[in-house]
Subunit: 242 residues, 2 copies
């Protein structure tokens, strides 16, 4: 049995009982070192299997092969395991085994939603989620998606807006959005959602272009109707306000 | 104090401890009748304030005015309160009061994520979330967003794909997507996610056009790489598979 489990933003109080119960039944909990460290204290008796970043294929293969020995294994991810997490890779790798283990995905709150709650209510209307990481996706395709999302007047939520090697990606993305959106479009970002050092800011698209973000930041670009209401980022759903 | 709380897909085991703790501190819990019925059994001693569907402005106004009397109030929504929920309307309405109550949004697992977990891992890459309800959004804008999302090769997740009065909206949406996507694009739907009567199906875009869906169904349209892997709907993230 192989569970793929989303832990939500980080704190124990945002892990669902369903996820905690599945973790409790496991013999082995696998994952990226940082996420394992979040839950290790709650399960001191468990066996843990950690691999560093950029070893996702190795990590998932290990989890599958351990499950095939008859153990109950959990692969944990931050946020939701099905949004830029390990769920897809587990399914892809498992199909090459003649008798793949039973796989069950248990959802968590993804950063788009947990960050939105910090800022107010930016995702109240149709939205697009785009990762700016070009490790696995050609940058040209990311650019095309940014243009389509802006053209459709979607609220846009950006994951992985920067890393050490990609310091200027958010700036490049903003320049593309500025082709069709105005510089005063209301935007926001949240860093370290639900963890120590949580910070957030509401700012214009023109200002966002020069914002300092990192790989733990989630970025929101409003649609044409998104507003700053008393310090909260809010996209109207369209209800007639009396 | 006014909390806006997402309950996730439905069952108690997917409500976060953070949401349960906030509910426990409340004097009054407000919401749409169906969602209130989900949590009433856990808080038999609380006062509840329910209004039927399509009375969202009245419901949120009542919650705000009750909070202004000094009570701690929770407005509950299914899924995440910030995704087509009540969070935005609460902020919009509260601003017209001279001293609005403190508002805090507590996230939940939105249907896009909980439904994805049932189907496999369809949202592993960039995706767009679109509601097909034209009660508050002009249909022309919904059409434009469907075209943009298809053009950007986003995975598309549809909320509110039908209602009693909008039986043919999914068909109309599929016809728009079929302008640029092939009929064999891999799709899926989930009905009654996490509740009694949960059902799901993986099917082609051509078949989806004639699928029977209702207002409790969430629909997924794959991108050009989405696959059916042993009965699971999976969008590859792009990892090189050995």
């Amino acid at each position: 049995m192989l569970y793929v489990i989303g832990l939500g933003p980080g704190g124990k109080e945002e892990i669902t009982p369903k996820a905690m119960e599945a973790l409790a039944t496991c013999d082995i909990i696998a994952g990226y070192t940082i996420y394992i460290d979040l839950i290790r204290p709650y399960f001191p008796e468990k066996e843990f299997l950690t691999t560093p970043m950029k070893q996702e294929v190795k990590r998932c293969t290990l989890a599958i092969e351990t499950a095939l020995t008859g153990k109950t294994v959990a692969m944990v991810c931050s946020g939701d395991a099905g949004v830029y997490g390990m769920a897809g890779l587990i399914f892809e790798l498992a199909q090459s085994y003649p008798n793949p283990p039973t796989i069950k995905v248990i959802g968590g709150i993804t950063a788009a939603c947990s960050g939105a709650a910090v800022l107010g209510a930016p995702l109240m209307h149709d939205f697009a989620v785009i990762s700016l990481s070009d490790l696995l996706t050609p940058w040209k395709q990311i650019e095309a998606r940014l243009r389509c999302a802006a053209q459709g007047d979607f609220v846009i939520c950006l994951y992985n807006p920067a890393s050490k090697k990609r310091q200027d990606y958010l700036q490049k993305a903003c320049d593309i959005l500025l082709e069709s959106k105005t510089a005063d479009t209301v935007c926001g970002w949240v860093k370290n959602i639900g963890r120590e050092g949580e910070t957030a800011e509401i700012l214009s698209l023109g200002e966002l272009r020069n914002a300092s973000v990192d790989m733990f930041t989630t970025v929101y670009i409003g649609n044409s109707k998104t507003k700053d209401i008393n310090g909260f980022l809010v996209t109207p759903r369209g209800y007639p306000i009396p």
